[in-house]
Structures are given as C-alpha cells and as structure tokens.
Amino acid sequence: MDVFLVVALVVVVALVFDFTNGFHDTANAMATSVATGALKPRVAVLISAVLNLVGAFLSTQVAKTVSSGILNEDSKGIPHITVVMIFAGLVGAVLWNLGTWWLGLPSSSTHALFGGLIGAAIIGSGFDAVNLAGVLSKIVVPALLSPFIAGAVALIATFIAYRVTKMAQVAGSARGFRHAQTVSASLVSLAHGTNDAQKTMGVITLTLIVAGYQSANTGPVLWVILACGLAIATGTYTGGWRIMRTVGKRITDIESAQGFSAETSAAATILISSTLGFPLSTTQVTSGSVVGAGLGKKLASIHWGVVGRIAIAWVVTLPAAAVVGGVAAWGASSSTLGLIVVVVLGAAAAAGFLLLARRKPVTRHNVNEGSSGSGDEERAGEPAMSAR
C-alpha cells in the first residue's frame, strides 16, 4: 500500500485519539469545579477547551520525548518501527480509551498510547525496537511517582488552607475558594495542553520521520501542532461527563478549598514535568491530588473502593493496550488485506463502545447526580466503602 496513504491514515487515527484524549480528560481539569458549583458545566468545558489549545503551543518538550525517546534508532536516527505498526499501536490505544471511558474509569490516555506503540513495536520488530531504559526513565518512573507527588503536595496544601481559614469558615471564604478554584482549574487545562496534546504531536512527528517526510530528531512542525491542539480542544469541548462524575463526586465529596488545593498541586506537577519533557498521565496526577486533598481534610471521606478501581485501571492500562496494539500490529503487518481488516474491526469495536455508552448517557444535566452510574452493584457497595 502507498506509504502516503498509510501516513494519512495514521494522522487521522492519531487525531481521533487526541480527540478521545480531550474527551476523556476534561474531567481532570474541571470535575472538581463543576462538582462544587464553582463553574457551570458548559462554561467549564469552553474555558478548558480554549486553554488546552493555548497549552498545546506553549511547550513542545513532551512531543520530542515521544518522537525520539521511547524507540531505539538506527545509525541514521530512524526509529525501528514502521508506519503500519504505529497505526496498529494507535488502534490499541483508541480502543482501550473508549473501553475505559465507557466504564467511567479515568485511566491514562498516555499509558494507552505508549502501551499500544510498545506492543506494536515488540510484535513487529522484536524487543530490541524498544528503548527500555528510555521508557523506564522518561515514562514509567515519572508515571509511578507523579500521582504520589501531586497527592502529597495536595494533602499539605489542603491542610494549610483549612488551618489558615478555620476550616473555610471565615467570612467570604466559600466565595473566595470558589473563585480560586476556577483559576486553578483553568491552570490544569493549560497544563493539560502542554502535556497531553504533545503526545499525539509526538506520534505524528514520529510517523513523519519514519516515512521520510521529516528529518530525524526534529520537533513537531506547525500544522501538526495546530491540528493536535484543535483536536484535543474539540474533544474537550464535546465533554467527558461520564468520567467527570467519577473524579468529582465518587472519589471524595470535595469542597472548594480542597478543589483549589488539588488543582494547584496538579497544575504545578504537570507544568514542571512538561518543561522537563516527562509525558505524565494528567489523569493519574489529578486523581492523586484529589485523593490527597481528601486526606488533607479528613481521612474517612475517601471512597477507597473507587480509588481501588481507578488504581487497577492504571496498572492494567499499559500492558492491556500493548496486547491490543500487538495483535493489531500482527494483523496489519501481514498484508494489505490484514491492514484493512484491522481498520474495519477497530472501527466496529469503537462504534460498539459508543453504542453501549449511549444506553446510559452521562450528560451535563446529570453530571453531579450520585446515582444511575455505570454499575448498580457498585452503588450498592458504596456506603460500606465510605466509612463515615
């Protein structure tokens, strides 16, 4: 098949992935603001979308990590991967993202993306294709530590905020924290653009380098930055109400002061990491900081059962997406027919998840309702988990 056609296919699927990423991650930035009533849902997603787009232009360090940090390169600086394998990896990532979105789990779009790519590279070119040291140093270790860093800082910040304002009981503090939370949520959106939009840019840049359209070890070009920024912003605007409810209401019943502390900690963690080129999972960082903010006020109000489900999704995401990406690579690399079969099956599975999700939609109208979740048995167990 013509290289140009496959490259075009990769770019389209990458932008779709970027869209689902924005769709998935609106929750991270705006969930607590919507849950506390600081922002109306529609305004929240609009601000978030615009700032995601701005953030995409601010810093492209993370894109460079993705395009030249996780795969081994030959003497000319070309990574050991083919365009078809990148495509297969993307299919794995998109399917995993849609699946966890349907389940309402804030799993990491980042890990889904890297898992898919790594799986495809291993199946396609063997274990030598993956730069294991690079993956550990730049992805796995920062990914493991960042939620704890953000969580610990959020805990301290929340504790101080409550101490200084007498448990947020001083006059004007409710309104004051709501305003502050709006600003901090906006910062998280900006940080999100500097980190998550970059990952898709990195993948498209990697594709262009492998296909020979761009010289090795260069950063993303302007049209790539623009397209990725727009895709993630559109996805963000379209909204991820389903996940917003898990983060905002189910982990802990969050107040404005906690939301402010959590978001400030998360934004600081992500912004500094973006500058250093660490592609963090913004999902994990935000979830970590929300848990920290919950602990900072009172330990008992955390719904540990929900935290456990999210933690399992974190652990499983990278390997699971790697398996899907690997299988897709195996099919797509065999022949043109195999590639077409992967395209059709991937599209069918994606459509299936969307149809399943429509049966119990979570929209801006019921985003703050506690009930009618994705699983009724889980609701039944929840009062026992929240030891209050």
Binding site: S137, A152, G176
Partner: protein
C-alpha cells in the same frame, strides 16, 4: 502514608536503572514550593480580609466595615503576590521566553 509509598517506589527501583532522579527531585520540590506558596498566600489573604466581618456566615455578601486598614492592605497584598507567583510560574515554563 503517601510519602512512604512514594519513597518505597523510589527506593525499590533505584540504583540499577538509568533514571534521571535529579529531574524527578526537581519536580517534587518545585511542585511543593509552588502549590503550597500559592495556596497559603491566597488562604492568608482571605483570612486577613475576613477580619472585622460580622458573624460566621461562610457565604459572601459580607461588608468590610470595621476591618483595620492594615488587614485590608495585607490581605490584598497576599492575594496579589499569589497571582503574580502563578504568572511567573507560567512565564518560566514557556520556552519561547527563554530562547535568547
């Protein structure tokens, strides 16, 4: 508890991996200083501005009569410094401003 878990994760995989621990330490320190400073400044500002307000009512619409001038000045100063700290932080992370 979270600190212990983070330390265990760090200690468990250290030594034999080619991990840039300095950068990760930098992430920890910058996050801690920036977030705690911003939250503390803003909270202090609100605490100072609440001095002299009648009642314990947590929701807005309180008038500022009876608040000492020094509390007003200090309160607004805290909030202003907090906002400036955020803007400075954003300025620092944009490479475009540091090309020269």
């Amino acid at each position: 508890m979270i600190d212990h878990m983070a330390a265990a994760a760090a200690g468990g995989s250290g030594g034999f991996l080619d991990v840039d621990w300095n950068s990760i330490a930098l992430v920890c320190v910058v996050t801690l200083v920036a977030a705690v400073a911003v939250v503390t400044l803003y909270s202090l500002g609100m605490r100072l501005l609440s001095i002299g307000s009648p009642g314990e009512g947590a929701d807005g619409h309180t008038t500022a009569h009876g608040r000492p001038v020094i509390a007003s000045v200090g309160g607004y100063a805290c909030i202003a410094v907090g906002i400036l700290a955020v803007l400075y932080g954003i300025y620092l992370v944009i490479p475009l401003f540091h090309m020269a």
